[in-house]
Subunit: 411 residues, 2 copies
């Protein structure tokens, strides 16, 4: 145990990174190897699906962007009559949506469809792609509204929507409070993204039977992510530090929304049988939770140069992660004074040195090791469910690669 | 002109009301009679459809409430796994939706369907009712988010959603800012209402062809109302006082969303021909704008006892209405000092005496008369379009009554 902790500390406090001349607080987590597959170097989310898988004409990210661009183009006839103010807001939404993101959800939905027998050469494939791409508009709403809720100033290197509109208000010298105006615009533009996600999905032309099969999945996904977000804000305010709550948030806010339901959606569109859907859902829930646990580690130990977020951001924000819950549970049981230190520190303005101390504390309490073990166990269970399923072999390869990409990323 | 203005002043500053022992500033507007139909005493939005029209088993408002209640009941299996915090939020949303409102939009949609040949005795009638009832969930989102944007404290005699959640936060002694928590909860609960509106509509089971016909109408309606709201916040901040902007906001934020598109939606579900749809849309756009113009008058001259809003609320809020635009245009042309007085006063903390003075000013500038004439002209044009249409006779009666109800109400 002690030796293991020391090893973890060595990795997480940047021994390897320091050898490369980096600062200690920029240490990049290196994944422990629990099975052969996990020892592979972590791939990025593949822009091209692996070669074993049927390829769409271009790569999936380009196709998703094209589908979104086409949707926005088709909306012009609805937007134009309302005038320049609305057109400007829609342009901001389009820029936000097309600016990027990893297209994780459309990719999982598309791969889920392919794995359940979807045929990229069939005439309806473009419609399925459009249905998958609509997930990015839900995500746009989630991000725009989250940025208001979290009072975030930047997103993907640009001002967040509400900050951008507050700036416009200020630049124009308009009446009233710029921040309130920015928030109002952000709320409405997020609403528009959510309404348009539905329009794009239900208007994708995937066919009546596929649409009927997909409806309950679409409903569950949006309900679950909003449920998870509501639970998240309650837990953050109430200070509920249990790992049960943290994992429940991961389950609904992240796993169901990011992996499980997108895969399920693709499978439902393809008309997959119950066994494959069950395997996808197990895979998706487990990988999704592992994805969030990795995110939690990066929020405390990630390198700002690769995560794009300030170092130790989650500690300053007081985010109630499973990582923190594990640390607090161990401390409560064995070192109540350490628990008190931890509780009083998180969620406050912390110096770099404070963040470093808290990192050491979290490691010494075994929380990092526990999270890494959980990520590895979840990934193993997910891959076993996938391997035993009837998903096409090429899809299994793709999902293997994606599972490792999202659970072992450094950004 | 002078005599007309004096007459208007007599009505609007409560000469009749004073004869009933009411205070001058509580004067209730009395509608000038431009055609025989308008001389009828203004009916309330009919809880029962007029007897000439096929009656659903109960009245439309009861049916809408039942459909919504059933939808919330069916959602329990999705909500339950996320836990008590989410269930509590959903209960607040359900209470909000079932607490009331006039069900204007579902009623217009339902009547539009009936008038285009919808058969209340056919097996699919319940599905159509469910599709119509889903409009109340869009409205729930619009109100919950609007209340955040406008920082409104009460709605229908209860605390607004964001105020209620701020109170819970305060009562529990949670960490962080109660107001921010309340806003976050309000944003997410509004999002949930919007997502569920789509689920309820698309899952209503109205049949594939009806659904395909209704899709573009559903899309247009939600886009237009959000476009109108965005235009509204820009115009309010920029101080754009033109009546063109005010009427454009009325057109998209109110008319399209409240009357035109709901009627169009019902007609599309019923498979109406283009001519009837065009007539419905003319009727809906005109009555919808007239509805908003009446609202603008009530916002300045309404009796708090019947409107439920403080007297002269729109003047204090600085709402950029067509009424105010007309007053400013006339003043700009003839009495620049009066225009300056008006501009500097609206949108500030006004005493009752200030509000009374502004009312007199607005009347003396002919703005009330102009708005009343516009309401009457729009109503006349709307009723002419309706009369000339192929809508069922019973529906025409119902829409006549509803047109008068919404353009001549005192609340």
């Amino acid at each position: 145990m002690l030796r293991a902790t020391a090893n973890v500390a060595g990795r997480y406090l940047g021994r390897a990174a320091m050898a490369d001349g980096l600062q200690q607080n920029q240490g990049v987590p290196v994944v422990s190897c629990r099975r052969q597959e996990l020892a592979l170097s972590a791939p990025m989310m593949p822009p091209h699906l692996p070669s074993g898988l049927p390829q769409p004409p271009h790569d999936i990210r380009t196709n998703v962007a094209d589908a979104l661009r086409g949707f926005f183009r088709d909306r012009a006839s609805l937007v134009e009559p309302v005038g320049t103010e609305f057109r400007s807001a829609v342009t901001h939404l389009e820029d936000f949506v097309l600016r990027g993101g990893k297209r994780v959800r459309p990719t999982f939905a598309w791969v889920g469809w392919l794995g359940a027998g979807g045929d990229v050469d069939a005439p309806g494939a473009d419609n399925v792609l459009s249905a998958c791409a609509s997930l990015e508009l839900i995500q746009a709403c989630a991000l725009i509204h989250d940025d208001i809720i979290d009072n975030s100033r930047t997103r993907r290197g640009f001002p967040t929507i509400h900050v951008e509109f507050a700036r416009q208000h200020r630049d124009q010298g308009w009446g009233g409070d710029p921040e309130s105006f920015g928030e109002a615009a952000g709320i409405l533009i997020g609403d528009l993204a959510l309404a348009w996600a539905d329009d794009m999905f239900h208007g994708s032309g995937i066919g009546t039977e596929a649409h009927q099969r997909a409806l309950p999945v679409w409903a569950a996904m949006r309900t679950e992510v909003l449920g998870g977000q509501l639970l998240d804000i309650v837990v953050e305010s109430s200070g509920d530090g249990s790992h049960g709550s943290a994992l429940k948030i991961n389950r609904f806010k992240t796993a169901a929304y990011t992996v499980e339901r997108p895969l399920h959606l693709g499978a439902a569109i393809a008309g997959a049988d119950d066994a494959l859907i069950a395997a996808y859902r197990t895979f998706g829930a487990d990988i999704g939770i592992a994805f969030q646990l990795r995110d939690d580690l990066l929020g405390v130990f990630g390198d700002p140069a690769t995560t794009g977020k300030p170092s130790g951001d989650d500690l300053r924000a007081g985010k109630r992660t499973a990582l923190l819950a594990y640390a607090l549970e161990t401390a409560d049981a064995n070192q109540p004074d350490v628990a008190a230190t931890l509780r009083s520190a998180v969620g406050t303005e912390l110096s770099e040195a404070d963040v470093d101390s808290l990192r050491s504390l979290i490691i010494s309490l075994g929380a990092v090791e526990r999270v890494e073990k959980q990520i590895a166990d979840l990934t193993e269970r997910a891959l076993n469910a996938l391997d035993a399923s009837s998903a096409r072999p090429g899809t299994k390869d793709a999902l293997h690669a994606m599972a490792l990409a999202v659970t072992r990323r450094t950004y």
